[in-house]
Symmetry: C2
Subunit: 312 residues, 2 copies
């Protein structure tokens, strides 16, 4: 089933202990779309500037991603400059040039309105809500957000959260959104805000999913599921790892007939798999080149490093 993703398509200038790249293709919607494209059809709504060239569009189309919703506007594309030090667990933002993204007004192509799966990447919750409202036939809505919207746009974000099937955020965002330091109470509070299910990402420590109680037949407190991350000897560039996690997670869900607890668990493993690939090269380089065979082999490795009956 097709996923429609709305979010940023951007250029990133990144420095890590492994090197430096200037204006490589990036953005949440880009990483998400590439990761999800290995599982299902993907359509993208975004805005780019005149610096977005045919070779950049080809990164999407080579994976069969529908780019009809990528709007061209006069000016330059969104450009993020960041650096990582130490164990690369946190990015230091050195510059955010919104450029054409500043006046982003998502426009949904007619051909996209039958999309059954919607992913609201990290953008202004007002825009997230607007896209959601134009997709009355959507079957499932999954979304992301960040500290900036949690802190200063709480009411707008609350309206989006009420309509989400799955919210994907990281530890810090879960703490900020809930006001709770305890991860279980934080999850309970976030789920009470509307999302049927929640995935909290822990970076190098994997992720914890809380599958909605509705699907468990009214269980009051969703039981957590913990998916590992793969310990990597070389994290070249973690930019986009969280969006790649979301792409693997949601792409797998959209490829399945329905969202059961078993599908949710496998989706969390596929999220970790795609996130781990994303870290291996700068920008989208690794996600462009990964094969289905490599994805399945890594899924098997994730199982091996976390299951008691592992073959090793």
């Amino acid at each position: 089933m097709a996923i429609l993703v709305v979010g940023s398509v951007a250029f990133d200038s990144i420095e890590t202990p492994h090197g430096k790249v200037d204006h490589c293709l990036g953005g949440a919607a880009t990483h998400f779309a590439l990761a999800a494209s290995y599982f299902t059809d993907v359509r993208v709504i975004a805005v780019v500037g005149e610096d977005f060239l045919p070779k950049h569009e080809a990164v999407f189309t080579a994976q069969g991603i529908d780019t009809a919703g990528i709007e061209r506007a006069p000016g330059l594309s969104f450009h993020w400059t960041g650096a990582y030090a130490g164990n690369l667990s946190e990015a230091q933002t050195l510059g955010t040039d919104l450029n054409v993204f500043e006046r982003f007004e998502p426009k949904i192509p007619e051909a996209y309105t039958d999309s059954e799966y919607l992913f609201l990447a990290n953008i202004d919750p007002v825009l997230q809500a607007r896209v959601r409202s134009h997709m009355p036939k959507v079957r499932m809505v999954c979304g992301d957000t960040m500290n900036y919207w949690i802190k200063d746009h709480a009411a707008n974000l609350a309206a989006v959260l009420r309509e989400l099937d799955v919210l994907l955020i990281n530890d810090g965002e879960a703490r900020m959104l809930s006001g709770e330091t305890n991860p279980v109470r934080a999850a309970e509070k976030v789920l009470a805000m509307g999302p049927k299910s929640l995935v909290v990402k822990h970076g190098e420590y994997g992720a914890t999913g809380f599958f909605g109680e509705h699907s468990f037949g009214g269980r009051a407190v969703p039981r957590p599921f913990r998916a590992p991350a793969l310990p990597l000897a070389e994290v070249v560039d973690p930019t986009g790892a969280g969006d790649s996690f979301a792409g693997g997670f949601y792409g797998y869900i959209a490829s399945q007939p329905e969202l059961t607890p078993a599908v949710f668990r496998k989706a969390m493993f596929y999220g970790g798999v795609m996130g781990s690939f994303a870290c291996e090269r700068f920008g989208t380089e690794r996600l462009q080149a990964v094969t289905s065979g490599e994805i399945e082999a890594r899924f098997a490795l994730f199982r091996e490093i976390s299951h008691l009956d592992s073959a090793i």
Copy 2:
């Protein structure tokens, strides 16, 4: 098979957001011994003062723990004062009164010399090495250490590491010991210092084990195994959780005929199980009262929250 543990038996005064206790029974050897006692016979070498009363000894003997090696010395027992705030992930030490522990000279009762499993809890590596040297018949040696010994007693610690079968440390200690921020390269460097296997504890995120290459038939880089931690809605007091992890881990290993990769994986789960119980009450309260049925039920829960074929 009997485990001999050498380490601290102490009193702790602890404050957490859930309350405050004064002079409750604590110490690494205490938490370790209680956790391990559910799996195998345990013998303790430690020194205590005149404030260590029959009711304190009864905490050990009620679990069948052999206390013949707990030496009484004039003066007061080791007393630690600490506090936790926020998400209780890090203790703030407010006071360390070594008291009788300052001149601790481990003495090994004759009846203990046939112990096949030795656990060197976090004490001066000179004492760890001395105990090790008096146990020529020991089959397996597992140990812990801390930042203080890594930083200022490196040569003494190196001698201990060379003789270890398993080293259990946390993330910060692994980084400090190896000088590496990347967890895989840190593990490789630590393993090159001598330990055949390594377990790195991540607190609320579980633990990663690196099972020695010898046991995998010469594989150059040990493959990691990731065990989850249980997300707890109430962490009352995390003091001793790491030692309880070690007790569950090593207690299970000592109860098995040999250390295979499968035993190592289950041991990591039992470590997490005992660590999770330890956090539920102040001091040793929960570890004193847990039942075998509760331990097996929680082991099953750890499996459920981490395995793809979970029943939930």
